[in-house]
């Protein structure tokens, strides 16, 4: 009774608001909302085919319901262990190696006192980010080919792209090369907000450079570092498909085959729609759990400050 009344009151309040501000809903929000509903939420309902023996002719509701069979198939398949390990290793190592270079670069740039010089350095640092994944993969193939410049310098003729042992190193190394500068912007921007007076005051107190970094700059960066860490850790399972796919060769597949490339192969090349969706769903759910878990742990460690 009381609830119904408040609901009614809320509805009346809303319709008054809507009459006055209809433009906000219809002209401003609607286009973006429609795009989101059609291209993000409709596919979420399509996940239903993970539990079906999906056939395009019978559709979402006509296909045979097979429950968790696709998941049993995944967990009992011989490839599952290898794919999971490949995915976790590639993104785990990537997180460890790629997380700190941007912070270090920002701290280094912050010490370059001459603005003109710093701006030039930044222009160079951000440049590789604008190179496409395809071009980057092409560069790696040229540089690390048996007759390429790297082998010429080393005096060897290793075919790096065919060597499973080199895949992760090349993937992560090229990632740092391409993104460390760009990712440092967020830290540089934060540091530029730290008043120079604070650092000067520390200097007058006789603090060494390391003490200044430890006591002034790092505390200023801490909130950004926490958010960046949660976001990267929460993306562990959604490691860039595009780059892995561009760097994959038949010979390095042993380590470069990860869950997203498997989903692609199953779904679009082999036409196993339902199973492919199930594997993709497993990946997204693990990803979501990781994000929530990391957010929880970090916020516990960080006095309640999470995302």
């Amino acid at each position: 009774m009381v609830k119904a009344k408040t609901e009614e009151r809320y509805f009346r309040k809303f319709s008054r608001y809507f009459k006055k501000n209809w433009q906000l809903y219809v002209l401003f929000l609607l286009p973006g909302l429609l795009l989101t509903l059609i291209f993000k939420y409709l596919p979420m309902f399509g996940i239903i085919i993970a539990f079906e023996e999906y056939s395009p002719f019978q559709g979402y509701f006509g296909s045979e319901w097979i429950g968790l069979y696709n998941f049993e198939r995944l967990f009992s398949s011989t490839e599952f262990g290898r794919l999971l390990v490949n995915t976790l290793k590639l993104s785990g190592y990537n997180l460890i190696w790629s997380f700190f270079p941007p912070i270090i670069l920002a701290l280094l740039l912050n010490r370059v006192r001459r603005t003109g010089l710093r701006k030039k350095a930044q222009l160079i640092l951000y440049l590789p980010y604008f190179i496409s994944i395809i071009v980057l993969a092409g560069m790696i193939r040229l540089f690390f080919s048996p007759v390429g410049p790297i082998n010429a310098i080393l005096g060897t003729s290793t075919d790096f792209m065919a060597e499973p042992g080199w895949f992760r190193t090349l993937y992560i190394g090229s990632g740092i090369w391409q993104c460390a500068g760009w990712s440092s912007i967020i830290y540089t921007a934060t540091l530029s907000g730290v008043s120079q007076e604070l650092i000067d005051a520390a200097k007058i107190d006789g603090a060494t450079v390391l003490q200044q970094i430890w006591n002034v700059e790092l505390p200023a960066l801490k909130p950004v570092i926490v958010i960046q860490f949660i976001l990267s850790a929460g993306n562990i399972m959604s490691i860039g498909f595009e780059k892995v796919f561009a760097m994959q060769t038949d010979l390095n597949k042993v380590v470069s085959d990860i869950i997203p490339t498997y989903v692609y192969r199953l779904g679009l090349q082999m036409g196993d729609y339902g199973y492919s969706t199930a594997v993709g769903l497993f990946n997204s759910v693990v990803n979501l759990i990781l994000l929530v878990a990391v957010n929880y742990i970090v916020s516990k460690l960080n006095e309640g400050e999470g995302l």
Partner: protein
Amino acid sequence: MKKHVKKGITQDRIIIWTGNAILIVFLALILVPVVYILLCSIMDPSVRSSVGVSLDVKDWTLEGYRRVFQDDNIWRGFRNSFIYSISFTAISVFVTLLAAYPMSREDFMGRKFFNAIFIFTMFFGGGLMPTYLVMDQLNLVNTDWAVLLPGALNVWNMILARSYYKTVPGELREAAAVDGATDLQYFFKVLIPVCKPIIAVLCLYQFVAQWNSYFDAMIYLDDLEMQPLQLVIRAILVQNQINPNLVANMEKLAETAKLADLLKYSTIVISSVPLLLMYPFFSKYFEKGMMIGSVKG
């Protein structure tokens, strides 16, 4: 006491110089491959394979560029990529700027609800096949819309725009309201003109994203005529499929291989030129854009 201070200063000098040295090494690691590629793209293939790069103009050739420009696929790829990137940027930035406006208003009823709808898509999605099936059922496969619409509303960009709007003083809107301006009039006449920096950043992000992407085009566009540049150069750089007409006239197989590498270097340079030309004009906005995102995201 004095000695202690002095020791600190020497230590500081060492640390600062080590830091600068690391920075210089990193800059060199970025610049050397870039310069190397530029040089290789104009290096006579037989000189490159025997002595490596040389700075002697005599060893230079524009053969690579000449041949790449003879490739119709490259031209078509360029044209398609320009069309896709410009249309995508226009659609995406427009829709994102619009949607961000109500989300920036504290009084907007349902703000939290709509916010949750948008944010959730950042962390969970339907995945490859369900998305493909939706595109298929909407008859968007093999149409331009397949690469233009799905990523058009970028939630992260919407958050950036929203945060920027919030830095605009509320008095402006109050004044506009007193003058009887509707939200639409206020948005286009007052808000947008003062938001140029964030609009520049969003345009740059979306143009670069579309120019460099290949995955959506790979799965949704089967028609060769519609392929963007990245798919065209993927065939050359990654799949090693080089138009046989371009490496013809070469008698020996080894020569063909060397020429193929020359074409790859030229292709890399040519395909990166548009972004590199844009780059200096937009670079002053990078930090601004990131700053907005980091402080209030």
